[in-house]
């Protein structure tokens, strides 16, 4: 088991390194850097000025070296301008003494994520604040989505082909066919529009960042939950119908165990193994939903930050956001692998 874990973690780290390298490369292409220089110095600067600014700020080094510096495995660059020192690990300009005492490495490994050029604050601070807000959203989504999907799936799967099964299956196909930007728009039109409709809820979740109420948080949560729910429900249904046709269920029924007890005691536990993996693998998709919903409802969480960073060419912030989201995906895959082994007694890792 330990070996299995170690191998999985190692594979995950290699993948993460490759992915961060790709993201680093894509966000640090020369047009991006040129745009950054122009946004710092003004749009009318000449190419020479761009080159000298890039050189002064350490952007002229080879991409791999800068990736190493960003990661914190290569020493950060320093520059001596006649006794005034600037460098990756030095704030502003400093004299020789301060420059010498500054730490040599400052990268992600040391916890230094750089500064966001849009928010003018530490990237770590921006991302952790955003993650906290998105964490609340995800928690609510999970609380609605997982029980809802499992109940729908089990109800549909326990009597295959019944009318209940058909209506619930159609419903889950309908929700999987409705992407967040469609269901969000429709839900807002029905429940929140000030012109027509019911006017029960808020069409914006901005106020939910401070205090969550039913009025401002229902729609974003529902929008994300609905899309994921259909898929999980279908997987649960498939696994439930498979279990319900198994020999031991028939034996239990023939012994005279009531249908309710068969479902609750015999079928349910075996039927929930497959949906667990599906729920964990659903995380990358939820991340997508989060980006769409936070943009749609103007909730300034992780997804909103991603959009801001990407559309404003905020390189350091975009890198941090990518690293976090890639790790979320990889860790959820790891948990799904491990959990599958734990839940399914037929799989043994030696």
């Amino acid at each position: 088991m330990l070996l299995f874990l170690a191998r999985k973690t190692l594979g995950m780290l290699v993948t993460a390194l490759c992915l961060t390298l790709i993201v680093f490369f894509l966000t640090n292409l020369s047009p991006n850097l040129e745009k950054l220089a122009k946004s710092e110095l003004g749009a009318r600067i000449t190419d020479d000025e761009v080159a000298s600014w890039l050189d002064k700020n350490g952007y002229a080094q080879p991409t791999l070296v800068r990736y190493g510096e960003w990661l914190g495995v290569l020493p950060g660059w320093t520059r001596d301008n006649d006794g005034e020192f600037t460098g990756r690990c030095i704030d502003g300009k400093a004299d020789a003494e301060t420059a010498a005492s500054a730490s040599r490495f400052c990268g992600v490994v040391q916890g230094d994520w750089g500064e966001s050029s849009v928010f003018k604050r530490d990237v770590g601070e921006v991302v952790s604040r955003a993650l906290k807000l998105t964490g609340k959203l995800m928690l609510c989504v999970m609380l609605v989505m997982v029980p809802g999907a499992l109940i729908v799936g089990v109800l549909a799967g326990m009597r295959e082909g019944s009318r209940l099964d058909r209506s619930l299956s159609t419903l889950s196909i309908l929700t999987t066919a409705t992407p967040e930007y469609v269901s969000g728009v429709v839900l807002v039109a029905i429940f929140a529009s000030s012109a027509v409709g019911l006017k029960w809820l808020n069409g914006s979740a901005t106020s939910a960042m401070d205090n969550i109420t039913i009025a401002n948080f229902t729609l974003p949560v529902l929008t994300i939950a609905l899309y994921g729910m259909g898929y999980i429900a279908r997987m649960t249904r498939a696994s439930m119908t498979e279990v319900m046709t198994a020999q031991y269920i028939r034996t239990a029924r023939l012994k005279g165990v009531s249908f309710y007890n068969v479902v609750m005691k015999h079928a349910l536990r075996n039927a929930l193994i497959a949906p667990f993996t599906v729920i964990m693998l659903q995380f990358p998709w939820l991340l997508n939903g989060v980006v769409i919903v936070e943009t749609l409802f103007n909730y300034k969480g992780f997804g909103w930050t991603l959009v801001q960073a990407a559309s404003n060419n905020d390189i350091e912030l975009l890198l941090a956001v990518s690293v976090v989201s890639v790790f979320v995906v990889l860790i959820s895959q790891l948990i799904s692998d491990i959990g599958y082994v734990f839940l399914n007694p037929r799989i043994r890792i030696t």
Partner: protein, 484 residues
């Protein structure tokens, strides 16, 4: 000119009846679901005189009511639609007028269904689709949008106004608002589904949006399948190093959240560096490789037949390939204008490439999994014993036997690609902002959603029905392909 109401004169008689039957239908469905938990199951009882008697009780009653009310509802909806076609323009309201505009689509749909159902026993899996209700509904929804896209895109039939032209005074106007400017009058004197925030016709934009979506999504999915099949077959068949490498690469791409990937690939800065053009060069070579290998494997033993076929296919596909990747204004531009067959308008190639790129790893995984399973079959062993070469076995023994799951996944994946295209439009990536595709239109409409709800609802409904149709179609196909 009077503004149109939703149902016009038909509505005065039919609306009250329709609302009653619709509410009754809803109640009956709820009653049926609740009763299914408690009521005894419906049983058949054989009588002494040889007849059968159904004992339904309350549950059976509810079931019967649902069936009857459903038929009544469908009949009433048909009254709205057929009434709109038969009555003169305007008498049947907005719904009738829209139904009249879609008349060519209705005719095409009826013809397709008539011909298909008549000959369904001779049409293989496609014919079997018409045995399943779900599959037929899905097929109807999909074909509705396909016909709309073709008729609007090629023949300018369905749409009433130009999707880009603005008419002053119609900004954010409600559905059925009359066009007052005589000079700009289109095919009908109203904005059937209202105007958007730039005073363009929402209905026409929705119709032309289908052209954009239908022309990109299936083709992009097809290319993604070619990539996935060309790489997945050898990975599953040979296993070993190649498999490890390709699986690692596909996992790498799959670990990216899709939106992040789009933001990294579809920005003006990246397009400036030419990365999408190089990616297009790599991705579009796969269909060429696929067909060449496919035919080569088949006719390898008959050189007199193989050589002309290969030369012909290579020439046609190669020419298409070169015309596709050579785009003026990008880094890859080598064909002179008179040799270049077609130019893909700005942004679409980038969107196409990124959608293919996102889809192909998943297809690769599916094909690889299927190959791993199928290569242990007896017919593969038989082919190996006969001395067939690996590519023949992969493409002519394994691939045809994997077609069932692949066809089902193809339908699902077109729907997924449609959703991805909408996502791109929703974030304003790739396609030009005035493009009538559904994602961009939803994005433009959502900003004023709290006051004007109609502009984003039409494209949202369109996207929903198309993706729903594809899902139902896939479900029907899966059901029918499992039967044999």
């Amino acid at each position: 000119m009077e503004p149109l109401t939703w149902t016009g004169t038909i509505g005065t008689f039919v609306n009250p009846i329709f609302s009653i039957t619709a509410i009754a239908f809803g109640l009956a469905v709820v009653a049926q679901i609740v009763l299914s938990f408690f009521a005894p199951a419906v049983t058949l009882q054989a009588n002494a005189d040889g007849t059968l008697q159904q004992r339904g009780g309350a549950f059976g009653l509810a079931e019967k009511a649902v069936k009857l009310l459903l038929i009544a509802n469908v009949a009433l909806i048909l009254v709205y639609l057929v009434g709109g076609i038969l009555l003169p323009y305007g008498d049947a309201g907005i719904i009738g007028a829209i139904s009249k505009r879609f008349l060519p689509v209705w005719i095409a749909l009826i013809l397709t269904f008539g011909v298909s159902i008549t000959f369904k026993r001779r049409l293989g899996l496609y014919g079997k689709l018409f045995d399943s209700t779900v599959g037929m509904i899905g097929f109807a929804l999909v074909m509705f949008w396909v016909f709309t896209a073709v008729l609007a895109g090629l023949f300018d039939l369905i749409a009433t106004y130009d999707p880009l032209s603005q008419i002053s005074g119609l900004k954010n106007k409600v559905p059925g608002f009359p066009v007052t400017d005589e000079r700009k009058l289109g095919a009908v004197p109203h904005y059937l589904l209202g105007g958007d925030n730039l005073a363009r016709d929402v209905f026409s934009r929705m119709v032309y949006g289908s052209t954009v979506v239908i022309s990109i999504a299936p083709l992009a999915t097809l290319v993604a399948f070619m990539v996935g099949i060309t790489l997945g077959l050898p990975a599953g068949y040979f296993s070993g190093r190649l498999d490890t490498l390709l699986t690692f690469l596909s996992n790498l791409i799959l670990a990216f959240p899709v939106i992040l990937l789009f933001y990294l690939l579809v920005t003006p800065e990246i397009i400036q560096t030419g990365i999408p053009s190089y990616m297009a060069m790599i991705l579009f070579i796969f269909p060429v490789v696929f067909f060449v290998v496919l035919l080569n494997a088949r006719f390898y033993t008959q050189p007199s037949k193989r050589n002309p076929i290969l030369i012909g296919v290579l020439a046609v596909l190669g020419y298409f390939y070169l015309s596709t990747i050579s785009q003026p204004g990008t880094v890859v531009h080598f064909l002179p204008a008179w040799l270049d067959l077609f130019d893909i308008p700005g942004g679409i190639l980038v969107v196409f490439v990124s959608v293919v790129f996102v889809n192909s790893p998943t297809v690769f995984r599916i094909v690889r999994g299927l190959t791993l399973d199928l290569r242990t079959r007896d017919y593969v062993a038989a082919a190996q014993t006969r001395g067939e070469r690996p590519w023949y076995i992969m493409l002519w023994e394994i691939l045809p036997n994997a077609r069932g799951p692949l066809i089902v996944d193809f339908c699902l994946r077109i729907g997924y690609t449609t959703i991805l295209l909408g996502t791109l439009g929703f974030f304003g990536l790739g396609l030009p902002p005035e493009s009538p595709d559904w994602g961009s239109t939803i994005n433009a409409g959502r900003r004023l959603l709290s006051t004007y709800i109609h502009p984003p609802l039409a494209p949202a409904g369109a996207l929903l029905t198309l993706v729903l149709g594809l899902n139902l179609l896939a479900d029907g196909l899966r059901e029918e392909s499992l039967k044999d």
